[in-house]
Amino acid sequence: MRTTVVLALVAVAIVALPLVAPAYYVTLMLPFMAYGVVLLGLNLLFGYTGLVSFGHALFIGIGAYTAAMLTTRFGIRQMELILLAAALAAAVVAAPVGALCVRYVKIYFGMLTLAFGMVFYTFLLKFYKLTGGDEGMRMLRPHLLGQSWEGLSKTAYLVGPYYYFSLGALVLATLLMWRIVRSPFGLCLRTIRDNPLKAESLGVSVPRFRWYAFMISAVYAAVGGALLATPTGNVDPTLAYWTHSGNIVFMVLLGGFASFFGPLLGAFVFIFLQDAVMSVFPYWRLVFGAVLALLVIFAPSGLMGLFARRLPVEVSRA
């Protein structure tokens, strides 16, 4: 009940935001929504399957570069098609990469995903003719729902149609993930997270289910990456760099991986905190490093964990 009320209020606020907030803050919501999709997928792997990937920027990169290539090289501008292609490209890459990575767990899984991420980063950097090297590629304005929206200025396009398109994509991704984690499949993933030995003794094929989770999370990351490309305007290899993988793991930790909505809260706080810190202090990584240290020591279950613990106390006082 409480969750429903909070969700409804948040939904109303997000829908109404472009009508009341300055355009600058509305455009900051675009990376939040793109990362939101990425993190829903990452948390299926992290929070629900117990595997921490340090290379998921690889799939953000695949999504973003697929989008940029389709618009600039192939003249394909329909965003729906672009998202589909990004998802397919990620699945094609994730199938063999995942099959290899899920044979390992803990730090070995993390390091292997990191290694694949760096291979892809180097590929983007060195294959200049294909990828544009360190300069990257432009992302042309995609058409949404069959309309080109050519008449709108860039800002009007971003805070109008693109904002609601991204929101629609995030809502759809959230609903699908909500079904997934509450499905028999989701239950099998949680058994693997808690105790792979026991899961196997109950007939759950641990590598196969880890691979499914890896594939789904890669597809989510690529769709998020494609959504991110438009507000960024230009995609470059830093999207696939390992620090970017670290950032998204940080977002999940910040919000709380034990909760379904934790990662979304993490993405929101990360983006707005980064913007606020950068506007007064150039060394935002210093501040974020301190935040990360405090988080691990005092709130290992993230912001969502703090709320969950605080709220019943407040309710009992009221």
Partner: protein
């Protein structure tokens, strides 16, 4: 014959853990494997459950060679196991743990978008098993918050929820207080009967449990079968008793076994097999009508 091992050898480098072990488990039997530490019990369990391939010899389950086929494949064939050190899913509830077993057995694991909560069969079968193991009132308790005895019961219950034909219990009463051991065994044997299991194999150190419940006891010693006999026959063999039990059983040994094992007429009676799994015994449906109504 459900499960059969023939001349099974297993080497770890130069060390011989199993040296020509042969055994057979028949319909309706409750078989205990005993032996001192280092006798090869753990290796034997791992070979019988398909985790380890034998270095020599064969293991057959339902007329199929199962040497090293792996836990998941063996579970599908109808063999389940529980562990010596209790294995649970700490962040799952009791009901979710049992649901996971039912989901696995029904092959629903790849249903990505189906609703688990509204799957009637998964819910009802998980609840039925919870009731059989007296865990129904704790169905929504997180497993990590259960007392140790209940954790052990849940470990076994989740293996039962797979509705296996044969179950292999690795020290089912280890970590359970002495006072509760018989209660645990009663629940377990009762559940096996109600669910129509075809056989139970256990590895156990507690000789009261072993002699009280087994139809047959297989004693291992230094990787070899030292004895394969009924409890009464074994008790009469002073030499074997000294070697594997380490003491003569006293007054308890002469009193009749307190609890009948799987076979309804008492231990040692394997002439009247249990109903085969799945089809059920028409005179004793599972779950019983009374319970279903209640």
């Amino acid at each position: 014959m459900i499960l059969e091992a023939r001349e099974v050898r297993r080497l770890y480098g130069a060390y011989v853990a199993l040296d020509g072990v042969s055994l057979a488990v028949r319909e309706g039997e409750f078989v205990s494997i005993i032996g001192p530490n280092g006798a090869g019990k753990s290796t034997l369990i791992n070979v019988l459950t398909g985790v380890l391939a034998p270095s020599g010899g064969r293991v057959r389950f339902k007329d199929r060679d199962i040497g090293g086929i792996g836990t998941v494949a063996l579970t599908r064939l109808g063999m389940a196991r529980s562990f010596q050190l209790v294995q649970i899913f700490p962040e799952l509830t009791v009901l979710e743990t049992l649901q996971a077993a039912v989901v696995s057995r029904l092959g629903l694991g790849s249903r990505f978008f189906a609703s688990l909560a509204s799957h009637g069969r998964v819910q009802s079968e998980a609840l039925e098993v919870a009731a059989l193991f007296n865990l129904q009132e704790k169905a929504h308790t997180l497993t990590r918050e259960l007392p140790q005895g209940d954790k052990k019961l849940l470990d076994v219950a989740s293996a039962f929820a797979l509705k296996p034909e044969i179950i292999l219990l690795d020290e089912p009463t280890s970590g359970v207080s002495t006072a509760d051991k018989h209660a645990v065994m009663e629940i377990l044997v009762g559940a096996a009967k109600r669910m129509g299991l075809r056989a139970i194999i256990q590895v156990e150190h507690d000789m009261d449990i072993v002699f009280g419940y087994s139809d047959r006891i297989i004693a291992l010693h230094q990787g070899k079968v030292l004895a394969d006999a009924t409890p009464a026959q074994l008790e009469a063999d002073a030499q074997v008793m000294d070697m594997v039990v380490g003491r003569r059983r006293g007054a308890q040994a002469t009193s009749p076994a307190p609890h009948p094992a799987l076979s309804p007429e008492g231990r040692g009676n394997s002439a009247e097999p249990l109903p085969p799994s799945g089809s059920g015994n028409p005179s004793e449906p599972w779950p019983p009508e009374g319970e279903r109504a209640g």
